[in-house]
Structure formats: structure tokens, C-alpha cells
């Protein structure tokens, strides 16, 4: 396919095609389907961090009005939980997933131990509270003790999360450095807290199962549940037309999906499992608490001689979730000597999982904060230090970048922000009683692509349907893919209907890692090209509609599969960005306010500037939350998150939104994919937290080496 030409639709700020459904309340989410005879479930969670269930008294609950069944390990069907040939990329590479109601073991506080199914939600909830459980507790492990850290298993290492990686000789590089920093950072456990709680409705029809589920990957749910129940994948259908935000929390197939299917099987009714906000904190994953040590060495001219970065992250005992935390240490800068060490600290907790910018955003926080400390130690401008160490190629793989406009990002963002006005010395800028701080950081997130299939059907009435099993958890897949199809078919956006979120549609990869647009978009573009070819082979002329009618056809369909090719072996691909932040600090009260943020991004070709800008602003605000508010407060006595709600787990509100300036630097990556795009969901949260932390140092002269940074950290001098 040729390089993209100017388009009437692509690159245009088309409004969301799903907008009207969302603003009128007609968009239907997983919990809102109402199959005939729907029953409701209430999940009962364990209240101890480790042990066994000694006794379970369900008699009172069973006798309560409306109750259809109480299911626990005592009466649940024994399920095969077959091992998959290859674990999906969204699952941990080693360990055992949590099995529902298969034995009496309790592996963490909050683990589902029973479920009540009743005619109404109120009846199910009321009965769930009447279940009496006695436990035999065993000594739990509920503290984060990095001394217990162990390297990841071989399977995890093979999956790109090794215990040790790097190039050159880290120690030697550090020894030869004229200037070094050696600093340790902590990042709190964070929860996705999408506004839609996770929910699943399961409905059996004989041996066929339909699941309405909140999912970022409907076809993986099919395969997963087929293995859990030992049934044919062809018997399962998963439907998920709208996802109310997920940020990674709906990548995997969580245990409550299995619970819904068990409950439906045992009652012979369709059953809804909707997790409460409180349950979400222990029922789906989270961004793990991570401790990092960064050592940097630099020559007198500022060139990096060594990057040594170690990370220790919390992990569950039963399953090994690991992150690509230390990848930025290898790819962000040019440096001959890099050494990373990754450790996992087992705790009695539910398993963590990817959260927006997984791993990268964590590693980048420490790396970019340390770079700021190095700039101070060298007495050079933080931007100049980064330019000095610009990575012209990906030094981890030795491959050239398929495209890279990071220098333009620094330049554009610095210019728009007014970085030149910064007085370098900390505590040197004030307005009234407020200290003013400027900080910046680099953003990087690898750009990937996966195979995808799509089907396009043209109709004689001049409309078209595009179909693929992708998801749209909010970023605008419905819209951007519609634009791509409209462009390829020469039809107006309104004439195209895009169907997604159904496992019976053509194959689509996971909706995560910012790969959907380039992967699915490429397949759609090819399917459109294929149907156009078929159209051209028809006799007659005129519009699509006219030609179909002239040939006596009511429709014309074509499918295509698009896969990444050899280019991935010859090039490294990544989105880039630069984030600049101004903060104001009142030390008398420890109050901190982000005044403005400027981001310039290299995300390849922008398919829809309206959607892209909105994505970036949302990501930047996610980063603000990460830097200043979001943290699970962990109580080691119970192995439990204490602020498991939205009153005490703080996320930014409208008033916290500062002036936000987003620019996309000119860029096009036709190596990665014919559309020239690189994907942009994850990149937007990257670099924000360190930029804020660096600005706080600039304002106050005191380093805060942990996020979130709280008023108590800033009060007084």
C-alpha cells in the first residue's frame, strides 16, 4: 500500500460516532443486559490474609427470601482448569491462576470464598452477609520487605522481564564517571478505578455459554473460559460492546467471570455478578508497589557512562506478575554501560496486573527523577542533559528507530512552556507566598503491532459495515476505525457502522498496549482495499450502490488479515514525548498545585486530533493523580487495602485540572504500519509523575523520592 495521501476524513477532528449513545444513556455496558430470568449474585470475600476455611455456615442464607443457591468449595463443580498451550500475553508467565471454589485455601484477604445467587440483588446481598465462616489462620506475609526479593522465574524472564539485563559493564561505567547519583524511589500501589465496576452476566443454553462481560479482549475470554470449564471454545460467545474504562484492569479474564458461569450453571438461570467498588480493590489487579534504586554516572561533559537501575515489586504468592519496569533504563538514553536488576517480593495479596503504561511508567518515574538529580549534580540544564544523551538508535537491540522525533518534542514543548524563563537554582522562583517550580521529563512507550482480521461488507443502499472483535474501552476505536474505513471506501463516516466487542467477529488482538489502532486499523484498511478490488471487478460504473445494484447484488463482502512483517526485526518502534510542568507550593500548609502542563508527543500520524488530544489530556491527568494523590493504604495487620473506595483513594477532580497544552510534532511511521500511526494511549501518562516530582524539587529545594507526594511531605522547611 502507498504512503497515506491527504484525506478528507483521516486526520480530521471527527466527533465520536458513539457520542450520542453515551450522552443519552443508551450505550449498554456489561451489567445492563437483561436476559430472561436474570438472577443476581453477591460474592462473599475472605476476611483473613492466609489460611483455610474451617467451617462455612450457609444455612441461614439458604433460607432467606429469594435465595436460589449458595455456592462455595463444598458444592461447586470441580473444574478442570486446563493449562493453555501458550499463555496469553496478558497473563503472568508462571504460577497458577486463582481457582474458584475448588478448595478451602485462602491465599489473600478478599479472595472470593462463596457466592449467593438470588432473585434480586438486594436479596443476594442480604443473604451474603448472613454466611458464617470460621478460618484456621496461618502466619501471613503482608509486609513489603525488599530483602525477601527474588529474581523472576525463567518463564517470566523469557517473557521480557529478566532478573538481570543490560550492556557493557555497569560497575566500570560508574567507576569511571566524574559525577554520580545513587538514589532510591518508591511508587505506591495504585488501582485503576475505572468508573465502571467489573461485571459479568453468564447465560447457559444447554452446553453453550454466553457471557456479557467488561473486557478488553473478548476472544481471550472465550479461550480462557473454555480451558477453565474444559469445553469447546466454539460453544462460548462473549459480548462487550461498551467498556466503561479499564486502563488494563479488563485485559485478563478474572475469577468473577468463572464465578458467573458457575452460578449460572448451578441455578439454571442467567446470573449477573457485579463487583462493588470495594471488591474491585481485591478482585482485579493493580499497579504494584515498587521500590527502585537508580545509579547514574556521567562524564564531565554530561555524557552518561553508566545507568544502573534496580527494582523490587510486590507480587502475589500464587502467580508471578512481572513488569517491564527496567526497559526504559535500556532504551531511553545512549549509554555504553547499563545494568538492571529486577526482584519480586511475594506477599499475601491478589495478583497485580498492567495499569496504563505498565512497567514503563514506573521505571521511567525513577529514571527521569534520577536524571534530574544528575542534572543538578552536573549543574546543567535538564533538557540539555537529555539532548546530550539522546539515543539515536535503540541501544538495547541495536536496531534503528522506525521513526523518532523526540528532539522536536523537547524543542516544541520547551518553547511553548517558556522553559527559558526558568531560574536554575531551586527555591529561586516565587509568586506571593508560593514557591514556583518548573520540571520536565522524557516520555517513551514502545509501539507494537499484532495480527488482526477484519471484514467489510458493502450494501446496495450505499452503507457499509466493518466488523472485528476489537474493544473500545474509551479511547475512540469506534471512531478512528470508522474514519479509516470511510477514507479507504470513499464513503462518509455516517454511512459506516463499525461492529466490535463480540467474540464471533473476525480476530482482533488485545485492546491494550496502544496497539489497537495500528493493528486493527491496518486490517480494516486491507479489508476495505479487498472489497474495493472486488467492486472494481464488477461491471458498470457510478457509486458503490449503483454498481452493486447494476450487478443484482445486495451486498459485497471481503475479509483481510494484516500482520506485522519483517520490519519488526529490522526496526525498533516507539512513541516519544516531553512533558513540562509548573507547580506552586505553599510550605506553610504543604499545599501543592500543578499550575500547568505542556506535552509534546511523537505518536506518528494522528488519525483524529480531537480524540488524540483528549487521550493525552486524560493521560496527563492520570499522571497527576499518580504523582500527587493515588495510593492504596495497606494495612499489614490484615493484608488489606484500607481506603478501598473513591472517598479516600483520591483521584483528580475537575478543579485539579490545570492548564494543559498538548502538541503533536510532525511525524509519520510508515515502517511500523501503512497508516503511519504509532498508538498513543500509554505514552500520555509516561513522564508526568517525574516531571511533577522534579518541579517540586525545583520549587522547594527538597527531593521527594516517593509518589504520591503529599501535603505532609511539604509542610514546613
Amino acid at each position: 500500500m502507498n504512503a497515506p495521501a491527504l484525506s478528507a476524513v483521516i486526520g480530521q477532528p471527527v466527533s465520536r460516532v458513539d457520542g450520542p449513545a453515551k450522552v443519552t444513556g443508551t450505550a449498554r455496558y456489561a451489567a445492563e443486559f437483561v436476559p430472561d430470568g436474570l438472577a443476581y449474585a453477591s460474592v462473599v470475600s475472605a476476611t483473613i490474609p492466609r489460611g483455610r476455611i474451617r467451617a462455612l455456615d450457609t444455612s441461614a442464607a439458604e433460607g432467606m427470601p429469594g435465595v436460589l443457591a449458595v455456592v462455595s468449595h463444598r458444592n461447586a463443580p470441580k473444574l478442570p482448569y486446563l493449562e493453555r498451550d501458550q499463555r496469553p500475553p496478558v497473563d503472568p508467565k508462571s504460577g497458577d491462576q486463582l481457582r474458584m471454589f475448588q478448595d478451602d485455601k485462602v491465599l489473600f484477604n478478599g479472595q472470593p470464598v462463596a457466592v449467593v445467587i438470588a432473585d434480586s440483588q438486594q436479596e443476594a446481598d442480604a443473604a451474603a452477609r448472613c454466611i458464617g465462616i470460621a478460618y484456621d489462620e496461618t502466619e501471613p506475609t503482608t509486609t513489603f520487605d525488599p530483602g525477601r526479593g527474588r529474581p523472576p522465574s525463567e518463564e517470566t524472564a523469557k517473557g521480557g522481564r529478566p532478573g538481570a539485563a543490560g550492556r557493557g559493564d555497569g560497575a566500570a561505567g560508574l567507576a569511571e564517571a566524574a559525577t554520580t547519583v545513587d538514589v532510591t524511589y518508591v511508587q505506591a500501589r495504585e488501582h485503576h478505578n475505572a468508573i465502571e465496576p467489573h461485571a459479568t452476566i453468564a447465560q447457559w443454553d444447554g452446553d453453550s455459554l454466553t457471557l456479557y462481560d467488561k473486557s478488553q479482549w473478548v476472544q481471550n475470554v472465550v479461550v480462557e473460559i473454555a480451558h477453565v470449564f474444559g469445553i469447546e471454545a466454539g460453544k462460548i460467545r462473549v459480548i462487550s460492546p461498551f467498556v466503561g474504562g479499564a486502563f488494563g484492569s479488563a485485559l485478563r479474564t478474572w475469577p468473577h467471570v468463572t464465578i458467573a458461569a458457575i452460578a449460572a450453571k448451578m441455578t439454571g438461570r442467567p446470573v449477573r455478578v457485579e463487583l462493588s467498588r470495594r471488591q474491585l480493590y481485591h478482585s482485579v489487579g493493580f499497579r504494584p508497589h515498587t521500590l527502585q534504586r537508580v545509579r547514574l554516572g556521567a562524564a564531565p561533559d554530561g555524557r552518561l557512562t553508566a545507568i544502573l537501575q534496580d527494582a523490587a515489586a510486590q507480587v502475589a504468592t500464587y502467580e508471578e506478575y512481572a513488569e517491564t519496569t527496567l526497559q526504559p533504563a535500556e532504551t531511553t538514553y545512549s549509554c555504553p554501560n547499563v545494568a538492571t536488576a529486577y526482584r519480586l517480593v511475594e506477599m499475601d495479596t491478589n495478583s497485580p496486573c498492567p495499569m496504563r503504561g505498565p512497567g514503563i511508567v514506573t521505571g521511567l518515574y525513577a529514571l527521569e527523577a534520577a536524571m534530574d538529580e544528575l542534572a543538578v549534580a552536573l549543574n546543567v540544564d535538564p533538557v540539555a542533559l537529555r539532548l546530550k544523551n539522546h539515543a539515536d538508535i535503540n541501544e538495547k537491540t541495536g536496531l534503528p528507530w522506525s521513526s523518532k522525533a523526540l528532539k522536536a518534542c523537547y524543542e516544541t514543548a520547551a518553547e511553548r512552556f517558556g522553559w527559558a524563563d526558568r531560574i536554575a537554582a531551586p527555591r529561586s522562583m516565587r509568586i506571593g507566598t508560593d514557591l514556583v517550580g518548573y520540571g520536565m521529563a522524557t516520555a517513551i512507550y514502545h509501539a507494537d503491532r499484532a495480527p488482526a482480521e477484519a471484514e467489510v461488507i458493502l450494501f446496495a443502499n450505499g452503507t457499509a459495515v466493518v466488523r472485528t472483535a476489537a474493544s473500545d474501552m474509551g479511547p475512540g476505536t469506534y471512531t478512528s476505525i470508522t474514519q479509516i474505513a470511510a477514507d479507504e471506501l470513499g464513503l462518509p463516516v455516517e454511512a459506516i457502522r463499525f461492529e466490535l466487542g463480540d467474540s464471533t467477529l473476525p480476530m482482533a488482538p488485545v485492546h491494550g498496549g496502544s496497539i489497537t489502532l495500528v493493528s486493527v486499523g491496518s486490517a480494516v484498511a486491507e479489508a476495505c482495499a479487498a472489497v474495493r478490488q472486488k467492486l472494481e471487478a464488477l461491471t458498470g460504473e457510478g457509486s458503490i450502490a449503483e454498481r452493486l445494484r447494476a450487478n443484482g447484488l445486495d451486498r459485497l463482502a471481503a475479509s483481510a488479515k494484516a500482520s506485522p512483517g519483517e520490519e519488526t526485526k529490522r526496526y525498533a518502534s516507539s512513541a516519544f514525548g516531553a512533558v513540562f510542568v509548573e507547580v506552586r507550593v505553599d510550605e506553610g500548609l504543604g499545599t501543592l498545585r500543578v499550575k500547568r502542563m505542556t506535552g509534546a508527543y511523537d505518536v506518528g500520524r494522528v488519525i483524529n486530533p480531537k480524540i488524540a488530544r483528549s487521550q493525552c489530556i486524560g493521560g496527563m491527568m492520570g499522571g497527576l493523580g499518580m504523582a500527587l494523590m493515588e495510593a492504596a493504604e495497606w494495612d499489614p495487620r490484615f493484608g488489606k487495602v484500607m481506603n478501598a473506595n473513591l472517598a479516600e483513594y483520591l483521584v483528580p477532580v475537575c478543579a485539579d485540572t490545570p492548564a494543559l497544552d498538548v502538541t503533536f510534532v510532525p511525524s509519520e511511521d510508515t515502517v511500523l504500519n501503512p497508516l503511519g500511526a504509532k498508538g498513543l494511549a500509554e505514552i500520555a501518562i509516561c513522564g508526568v509523575a517525574p516531571a511533577i516530582a522534579n518541579a517540586v524539587f525545583h520549587a522547594t529545594g527538597r527531593r521527594q523520592r516517593h509518589i504520591p507526594i503529599r501535603p505532609e511531605d511539604l509542610i514546613g522547611t
Binding site: R16, G19, T24, V34, E196, R430, M642, P652, V653
Partner: protein
């Protein structure tokens, strides 16, 4: 006596005769009506996904307010109109608020969207608003609507567009008819639905309330339900008997009686804001930050006092001002100084069958200076870590009386007696003279460390607040020390080097 509740829904009067006393409006909508446009994100009043607009008839007009349907009991809607996101698009297409949300990309995943649309819809209906309102007003109206996707910016832009013209939609056009129906629904009957063991009641007069509460001293009084709602949805407490105070005539009065203002127990935060701000603008500034717009539309001053919470925001201010609580029962009426009402954590001076009727708040006298500061991690919709209120009486440049009360430092809202004593005779501007008072904090308070703040932070902040209050009293420009108006103080001055 009426054995049903009635409200307007989609232009029709709906009458409910059987419903649970604590059945929430959200469950009614989503599970009973199966109208799923209104979302459930938290069920605790924190996220705003469940926001609907409630219409009432006031001073000849229909007024719409955003409320959290998840913590409001369906019985509380008696005599009101319920408007949800499904109801506002006319035959001519989307409502201006909805259209602007589409045009500005104010929706990503869309799950917060219905709540945001309804908050903006309620603001849209406000005839007195600017066209468009300034950012601070939009922030305030959206303070109870969390969005994890958009970063809010596109929503603010949508709000500006939608609110750039005065209200003109099918609701403004049918306001007169709606008002007529609402007036008809506001009958003089006492409402009682259920049995003596399990009921939802809404008496119409103070006498009927007193009599009913005497008969059922174990009933739960409900004003705005912004606390009681959480007992149900979060603590799963069994509440079988509900006496709703919202229909009691006169209990929501706000009256200026010369040297003082009387705030009736069921006056909402929103209704009381202006009267309280009239005593001192700081009170208004704090009240405007309590919870969210939704919480302020439902939550009451009486509830904020009666719940006895150590972190309620109004009690410290009212105590510093020397407010008196009016308590009423079938047997007697009495008045107690508000500070004496709070006995210990979880214990108040309230007898069985007794309820709060109102609070009498003295105005400032000549020579008095008042300051109040709410300190929380997040500016909006966040429980205070420390809430401090200060009333200084001055003569000849020195303090002759100090009344200082804090929330968040003890098991109740509490006066700082030792600190107050050390301030007598002190000139507020002379920082050197403050130190005995600063040291006395440790005598008055031994705060706890919890997840909201550490003990150290609480004490340091309390001291810093006293310092600010004294400096301001001495005449330091408030813009320099303002805590509450932080965001308003977005001075755009040039950056100065040290």
C-alpha cells in the same frame, strides 16, 4: 395520612405504595424501572456516575439540582420531579448539554457521562447563571463527578459551549405546568408507608414529627441521607424505620433575627450558604467545598451536627461563633451551646425522641474577626484532614477573647481552650508573642495518625492555621495567606527571582 409517595417521572405522576424504607433511587431506576442510563460507579456518593436532576417548586419557579441517586432513598423524592439522562433529549435532537459533550469529545468510555450530563443539565437550568459561567463555577458544579478518562478539560469546554446561552429547552418551556403539578403534590398529608415495624414516614409538621418520633424513638431520622445512605450501601446496617424530615414544614427555615441567624435543621448546605457567608465570607468559602454539589444539594446543616462526626466541617465554625442548638421533642424544647452537644466520640447530648430543630448562629460584633480554613488533600470533594475556625475579639490592638475550634484533631469538634487562654492580651501581628499559644496546642490536642494525615501534620497544620489567622487579623492581605480561596488566587503575575 397518605400511604404512598408520589413524584413526577417523564411528565407523569408516579405513585409508589410498596418500596423498602431504604430502597435507593438508583436501585429504583436501574433495577425496578430498568432505566440503566443512570450509572452506578461506587454506590457511596463519591463518583457522581449516578447523578440525576431533581426538580422542586420554590418561589414560583421549578429549580433543578443534581443529586447522587445511589445514596438517596426513593421515598425522599416525594413531591419532586426526577430527571435522568434518558429524559432530556427532545424530539428535536440532543439537549444542548448533550450536543456539546459530543462536539467537544467530553466522553471517552462514557461511564461518567450520564452523571456529568445531568450535573451540567442542572446548571443549565439555573436562570441566574452567567452565559457562560466562569471556570470556577463549572469546577464547583462538577466537583462530584469523577472522570478517569478525559482529564476533564474537554468536559469544561463542552460546559462553556452549552452554557453560553440562557436556558431554553423543553424543561423551561414546560416549567409552568410542571410547577403546577409539583404544587399539587405538596399536599398537607403526613406520609406513612409500611407497618409499625418497618416503614418510611415523612411527617408534614414539627408536631407530627415529635409525636411519631416519641412513638418510635428507635427510628432513624433522615434529612439528606448523605450519611445515612452510606450506612445502608457501605456498612449494610439494618434500618427498618425511616422518618424523613424533608417534608416537615418550617424545619428548613433560614431566618435573620438581627444579632443572629437561625438555620433550620433541614436547611441544606446549598440553601444555607448565602446566609452563612453573610456572617463571614470564609464560612461560605468552606461550605462551598463540602463534599460536592450533589452532597450540598442534599446534605443538611442539622445532619452535619447531629451525626456527631469529629471531622464535620460546619461544627468547628459554628462553635467558634458561639452557636446554640435547638433541640425539640414531644415533651420539651431546650437550647444547648453547640460545643456542649458533643460529649465524646460517637456520643452527643440528645435524648430519645429528641431531634435537632435548628441552630442559632450569632453574627460578628464590632471588633470581632473571624477566619476559617478547610485543609484537605484534594481541593474539592475531600474530607478535611484539619478544619480550623477562629473568632478573635479585639480591643486596643490586642485580643481580649479568642474562640478557636478544630475538627480532625480530636474525637469531637473541639475548642482549643489552652491556646485561647494564651492569646489573651496578645497583639495578633507580633509573631514573637504567639509562641506560648503555639506550644499550648499539645495541651489541647493529641491527634491520631490515620490515612488522611499524620498526627504531626495535623498539629503542624493547626499551628500554621493559627499563624495565618493571626497575621490576617493583623491586616496581612488575605490573598497572600488565603488557604480556602487557593484556586481563586491564580495570580498571573510575572515570576520573581529571589
Amino acid at each position: 395520612m397518605r400511604d404512598s409517595v408520589r413524584f413526577i417521572r417523564q411528565g407523569r405522576v408516579v405513585e409508589l405504595k410498596s418500596f423498602g424504607p431504604t430502597e435507593t433511587l438508583l436501585d429504583h431506576l436501574r433495577l425496578t424501572e430498568r432505566a440503566c442510563g443512570t450509572k452506578e460507579g461506587c454506590n457511596e456518593g463519591d463518583c457522581g456516575a449516578c447523578t440525576v436532576a431533581v426538580g422542586t417548586h420554590e418561589d414560583g419557579k421549578v429549580v433543578y439540582r443534581p443529586v447522587n441517586a445511589c445514596i438517596l432513598f426513593v421515598g425522599q423524592l416525594d413531591g419532586k420531579e426526577i430527571v435522568t439522562v434518558e429524559d432530556i433529549a427532545g424530539s428535536g435532537g440532543l439537549h444542548p448539554v448533550q450536543q456539546a459533550m459530543v462536539d467537544h469529545h467530553g466522553s471517552q468510555c462514557g461511564f461518567c457521562t450520564p452523571g456529568i450530563v445531568m450535573s451540567l443539565f442542572a446548571l443549565y437550568q439555573d436562570a441566574g447563571r452567567a452565559t457562560p459561567p466562569p471556570r470556577a463555577v463549572i469546577d464547583e458544579w462538577l466537583s462530584g463527578n469523577l472522570c478517569r478518562c478525559t482529564g476533564y478539560r474537554p468536559i469544561v469546554e463542552a460546559a462553556r459551549t452549552a452554557l453560553s446561552a440562557p436556558p431554553d429547552d423543553m424543561f423551561t418551556r414546560s416549567a409552568e405546568a410542571t410547577g403546577g403539578v409539583l404544587q399539587f403534590l405538596a399536599d398537607a398529608e403526613d406520609v406513612f408507608v409500611g407497618t409499625d415495624q418497618r416503614f418510611f414516614a415523612a411527617p408534614r409538621s414539627v408536631e407530627a414529627l415529635a409525636a411519631l418520633y416519641e412513638r418510635h424513638p428507635d427510628a432513624t431520622l433522615v434529612a439528606g441521607a448523605t450519611d445515612v445512605g452510606l450506612w445502608i450501601t457501605k456498612q449494610f446496617r439494618p434500618v427498618e424505620k425511616v422518618i424523613h424530615l424533608g417534608r416537615v414544614d418550617g424545619l428548613d427555615r433560614i431566618e435573620d433575627v438581627g444579632p443572629a441567624v437561625i438555620i433550620g435543621a433541614t436547611a441544606t448546605y446549598e440553601a444555607a450558604t448565602d446566609a452563612l457567608a453573610g456572617i463571614d465570607p470564609d464560612i461560605g468559602a468552606v461550605v462551598r467545598r463540602i463534599g460536592s454539589r450533589q452532597v450540598r444539594a442534599s446534605g443538611t446543616i442539622g445532619g452535619n451536627i447531629a451525626n456527631g462526626s469529629p471531622i464535620g466541617d460546619t461544627p468547628p465554625m459554628l462553635i467558634a461563633l458561639g452557636a446554640t442548638l435547638e433541640l425539640v421533642s414531644a415533651k420539651a424544647n431546650r437550647a444547648v451551646p453547640l460545643e456542649d452537644f458533643f460529649i465524646a466520640y460517637g456520643r452527643q447530648d440528645r435524648q430519645p425522641g429528641e431531634f435537632v430543630a435548628g441552630v442559632l448562629v450569632p453574627k460578628l460584633k464590632a471588633g470581632q474577626v473571624f477566619r476559617a480554613y478547610k485543609i484537605s488533600k484534594r481541593f474539592d470533594q475531600d474530607i478535611s484532614a484539619v478544619m480550623g475556625a477562629f473568632l478573635f475579639t479585639l480591643a486596643d490592638g490586642v485580643i481580649t477573647e479568642a474562640r478557636i475550634a478544630f475538627g480532625g484533631l480530636a474525637g469531637t469538634p473541639k475548642r482549643a481552650a489552652a491556646v485561647e487562654a494564651r492569646l489573651i492580651g496578645v497583639a495578633p501581628g507580633s509573631a514573637a508573642a504567639w509562641s506560648p499559644a503555639m506550644e499550648a496546642f499539645a495541651e489541647d490536642f493529641q491527634p491520631l495518625t490515620d490515612m488522611r494525615a499524620s498526627a504531626h501534620y495535623r498539629l503542624e497544620t493547626a499551628r500554621a492555621l493559627l499563624g495565618k489567622a493571626l497575621l490576617e487579623t493583623a491586616g496581612a492581605p488575605t490573598t497572600r495567606t488565603r488557604v480556602i480561596g487557593q484556586r481563586e488566587a491564580r495570580q498571573e503575575g510575572a515570576h520573581v527571582g529571589a
